[in-house]
C-alpha cells in the first residue's frame, strides 16, 4: 500500500522547514508519521510535499523553564510518558502519552504530532487541555502562542495554519494534581479512546480553587467540559461534588455516536471517566 507520489524534503534547520512550507502551500509537516502515513497510505490525504522535521536539531527535549516546562516538537510519546518533569507538572499528559498507541508507536510518534493531528479520540489532547498547555506555532512570519482551549477547532482540525509548525508546547507550573483515564477500543487502556477524560484540580483550604476537565472520544473534538468545570470549581471536592460535576460532563457537548458506542453509551462513559479523573487528580492535588 503506497501513498500517492509526493515530494520529500528533510530540512536540517527550522528556518529551512518554514521556508519550504511557505513556498509550497500543498506541503504537510511530518514528525513521527504515526498518524499522517496511515492516512496517506489509505489515500485519505495526499499532500504534494512532505516536510520531514525529524532531522531538525533542538526540538527533542523536555526542559524545565522556571515557570513552565517545554516539550519540543520531536519529543516522542514514550519520552512524555516517562519524564519526571511531565509526571510532576502534568500527570494527566504523562498518563495520556502512556496510553497512546502501542510500544512501537510510542517510540516513534510525537506528542506534538498527536496534538496537531487533533483526532477526536486521541489521548494527549485531553491531557494538554487539562494541563492548560500553550501551543507554540512557528511560521516564516514568527512565532505565536495558542491556548490549548483554542487549539482544537474541529475533527482532525487544529488552529495551525498550513505554513505553521507546532514547534513545542508549554505547560505552566500551576501546582495541584491531574490525571487521565479512558476506556480503550481494545479494552483497558489499549488503542484510541472510546471515551476518556483528563482533569486538573487545585485545592486551597478545603475548597476547589481551580479545575480543568477535558473530554476525548465524546464530542466533535477534544474539548473542555464546561458544565463539569462550573460545577466543580468552588466546591468542597467531596464525593458528592465529584458526582455532581460528572453529571454535567456532556452539557453543551454534541455527543457523537461511532462504531464503538451509541450516544447514550458515550455520554455514560464521559460521566464515568470525569468522575475517575477527578478522584485521581484530587488524590494527587
Amino acid at each position: 500500500m503506497y501513498p500517492r507520489e509526493f515530494d520529500y524534503v528533510a530540512p536540517a534547520s527550522l528556518d529551512e522547514a518554514l521556508d519550504a512550507l511557505a513556498a509550497n502551500p500543498g506541503a504537510k509537516v511530518m514528525s513521527g508519521g504515526m498518524s499522517l502515513l496511515p492516512l496517506m497510505k489509505m489515500r485519505l490525504f495526499s499532500p504534494e510535499m512532505v516536510v520531514d522535521i525529524g532531522r531538525i536539531p533542538g526540538l527533542d527535549d523536555i526542559t524545565d523553564q522556571e515557570d513552565h516546562i517545554a516539550i519540543g516538537a520531536l519529543v516522542r510519546h514514550h519520552q512524555t510518558a516517562t519524564s519526571a518533569l511531565v509526571a510532576e507538572h502534568a500527570a494527566a499528559l504523562a498518563e495520556a502519552a502512556a496510553y497512546t498507541g502501542d510500544n512501537q508507536v510510542r517510540r516513534r510518534g510525537t506528542t506534538c504530532g498527536s496534538l496537531a493531528h487533533a483526532d477526536i479520540a486521541a489521548d494527549q489532547p485531553a491531557g494538554a487541555l487539562a494541563a492548560g498547555a500553550t501551543m507554540v506555532a512557528a511560521s516564516k512570519n514568527g512565532k505565536r502562542e495558542i491556548a490549548a482551549a483554542d487549539f482544537f477547532v474541529d475533527t482532525l482540525t487544529s488552529a495551525l495554519e498550513p505554513d505553521e509548525i507546532l514547534v513545542g508546547i508549554r505547560i505552566p507550573k500551576t501546582g495541584g494534581g491531574s490525571a487521565y483515564d479512558k476506556l480503550g477500543r481494545r479494552g483497558g487502556h489499549s488503542d484510541y479512546a472510546v471515551a476518556g477524560a483528563a482533569a486538573w484540580v487545585r485545592k486551597s483550604n478545603g475548597t476547589v480553587e481551580d479545575a480543568r476537565i477535558a473530554l476525548t472520544g465524546v464530542g466533535t473534538k477534544p474539548m473542555l467540559a464546561a458544565g463539569s468545570m462550573e460545577a466543580f470549581i468552588g466546591s468542597d471536592g467531596s464525593a458528592a461534588a465529584i458526582a455532581a460535576a460528572a453529571d454535567r460532563a456532556t452539557e453543551g457537548v454534541t455527543v457523537l455516536e461511532d462504531l464503538y458506542g451509541s450516544e447514550a453509551y458515550k455520554a455514560h462513559l464521559a460521566r464515568v471517566f470525569v468522575a475517575r479523573a477527578l478522584e485521581q487528580a484530587l488524590a494527587r492535588a
Binding site: Y2, A10, D102, Q104
Partner: protein, 163 residues
C-alpha cells in the same frame, strides 16, 4: 543506512516505505508485510535500536540510520535467545507474525531483563497474532528472559501441567 551491520545504499521514490526497501531492494524478506495500517506489527524492525513498524516509516526517513531485521538477530549461527524461546516454547503457529513478535520482544528485553507477564503482554500490544497464539509467545519471551539472565528457564507447561 546500515542494515544488519552492513552499509547499504539505494535510490528510492519518496513514497517508498522502509519495509519495501528492505524486502524488495535488499531482498530481506524475513520482515513481513501484514495489515499495512500500523496495527499488526508484523513489519517490526529495530531502527537505531528501537522497535519500529517499518511499514510506518519512509525509507528516506531511515537514511543514515542503523536498521536490524530478523535476519540480523542471530549471531555467528547462534539463535538469539528470543528466537530460541519461540522454538523451545512453541511460540509460533503459522509464523506470519513471528519476525515482528521476536523483534518487539527483543526490544522489550533489551530494556527490561525481568519483565512480568503483564509487562510482556503490554509490551507486545502492537503485535497481533491471527492464530491467537499469545500464551506460548509470552512463555517464549519468559524463556528468553531467563536465558539472558543466565538462569535455567522454567520447564514448559506441557511437561508440568498435565501431571
Amino acid at each position: 543506512m546500515t542494515v544488519n551491520g552492513k552499509a547499504v545504499s539505494g535510490s528510492v521514490e519518496p513514497r517508498t516505505l522502509l519495509v519495501h526497501f528492505l524486502r524488495e531492494d535488499l531482498l530481506l524478506t524475513g520482515t513481513h508485510v501484514g495489515c499495512e495500517s500500523g496495527y499488526c506489527g508484523a513489519c517490526t524492525i529495530h531502527l537505531d535500536g528501537v522497535p519500529t513498524k517499518s511499514c510506518m516509516v519512509l525509507a528516506a526517513q531511515a537514511d543514515g540510520c542503523d536498521v536490524t531485521t530478523i535476519e540480523g538477530l542471530a549471531k555467528n549461527g547462534d539463535l538469539h535467545p528470543v528466537q530460541e524461546g519461540f522454538w523451545e516454547r512453541h511460540g509460533l503457529q503459522c509464523g506470519f507474525c513471528t519476525p515482528g513478535m521476536i523483534m518487539s520482544a527483543a526490544g522489550i528485553l533489551a530494556e527490561n531483563g525481568s519483565p512480568t507477564e503483564a509487562e510482556i503482554r503490554h509490551g507486545l500490544e502492537g503485535n497481533l497474532c491471527r492464530c491467537t497464539g499469545y500464551h506460548n509467545i509470552v512463555r517464549a519471551v519468559e524463556y528468553a528472559a531467563a536465558k539472558m539472565r543466565g538462569e535455567e528457564p522454567a520447564p514448559p507447561e506441557w511437561e508440568t501441567d498435565l501431571v
